[in-house]
Symmetry: C2
Subunit: 234 residues, 2 copies
DNA sequence: ACAAAAGTGTTGACACTACACCCATGG
DNA sequence: CCATGGGTGTAGTGTCAACACTTTTGT
């Protein structure tokens, strides 16, 4: 079967940018390569698309291999296709953007891939154009989190509003007014009070909320306004 | 040079969704195929990525071939990668989204490709997954135009506010209040009054504006609010 | 009782909608 | 001088940022 004889067949890679949040910092799951090429250097988790595999399945496979997780939040970000982006051979790379609840990951799998969670500030240089991919993913996270309720994907099932606030402060690297933030989030109607309180606090215990999954799915594509307007002029 | 012996080489296609606006309707530039495969059916303009060509250059090449235009507004939309999306051979397709000023296109080139401008409502069924690509592009246009000043890319260099309004009404298929729209757009500071008036009007002639290109580029990534809030809950 | 963190109330600034009104143009 | 369409004024409403105040908890 060769209907397009003169066209070039090209390697199609999948690279995954995986974000987590530990309660204080946004972190990336990066790999210290113990394999060729570029052995010893840092890179994103990746792999090649198989001939008989849907693109989204390829991304799910690679994410599962590293984290042990399925059904996590994944978006396709962009496809990178400079001729010499991989010096070994012409390769087009489709970049995926994933958000996970950092405590759910499979520590064994991460260890076996020689991967680590690294804060955005302390991240090392990366091979190829992976640096550019990460920068773009960070921009995308900032953009999308201001308008859509994706922050929840980084938090555990039950969370407090102050935790959520710390997450947004970490994403944008700015302080947010506690009181206005709380009201803004509650007014979305996406939060359900579980009735429980956060127990690891030495002062007033914050209420534990969970996401109203039905409303979340229904209204995901609405526009919200999760950030102070001042942020939006950046 | 074969550093990745076990990986599959795959055809990489580029498909282009090209929007225009004729003053009344949003239109798509589609091709009635006079070549195989699927000869006689309608499709997007496309082609294969060459071995020695950057992905973005490939898109620019294909757009130039059909429209005769360079330096137009292009975004990468998404890469489609279902195994059987092209029955001829496994092909991954990178979809690009372009906005052009409809009067600038090269009619000869369009004709020689057997292409036509077709309104969204009257568009025919398309081959493969091109239908899905178009639907996604329409959604993207609605989304992006509400938040960023991309509408200008569809208008001629000098335009009136009523023209701009008709464009937005066509995108969202709703009526917009003339007076509020005018003020909202002027308050962005992106419009420069050219001092000229629209001459093809039989009543009061509207002022001709042009885009403040410097501010446009500076503030493109800011969030705006080009649509009435009521639209945003869709 | 006090310190620290969570949560509630209030107010002024500003932006948005809706609608009344004025201006320019051609027949 | 009237019909049509472009452009401006304004009042009511709602939302948001800012900040004072109250509540809960462990020591």
């Amino acid at each position: 079967m060769n209907n397009y004889p003169q066209a070039s067949r090209i390697l199609v890679a999948i690279d995954c940018i995986i974000f987590g949040f530990d309660g204080k910092d946004i972190k990336l799951l990066l790999i210290k390569r113990n394999f060729e090429p570029e052995k010893g250097k840092w890179s994103l988790m990746g792999g090649f698309l198989n001939q008989d595999e849907d693109l989204s399945d390829g991304a799910a496979r690679i994410l599962y291999n590293l984290t042990g997780l399925k059904d996590i939040y994944v978006e396709q970000l962009e496809t990178f296709g400079k001729v010499n982006r991989d010096p070994g051979e012409r390769t087009v790379s489709v970049v995926f953007f994933a958000l996970i609840q950092i405590d759910d990951h499979d520590a064994e799998a991460v260890k076996s891939h020689n991967a680590s969670w690294i804060t955005l500030e302390s991240r090392p240089g990366l091979i190829f154009d992976h640096e550019q991919m990460v920068n773009q993913a960070i921009e995308h996270l900032k953009y999308k989190a201001a308008l859509h309720p994706i922050g929840f994907e980084l938090l555990p099932e039950r969370f407090t509003i102050p935790q959520l606030q710390k997450l947004y402060e970490a994403i944008y690297n700015i302080p947010i007014d506690r009181r206005n933030f709380s009201r803004k989030l509650l007014s979305t109607g996406l939060l359900i009070d579980t009735g429980y309180k956060n127990s690891n606090s030495t002062t007033k215990k914050a209420a534990l909320y969970k996401l109203d999954v039905v409303k979340y799915k229904e209204k995901f594509h609405s526009f919200w306004n999760f950030m102070p307007d001042s942020m939006k002029q950046s």
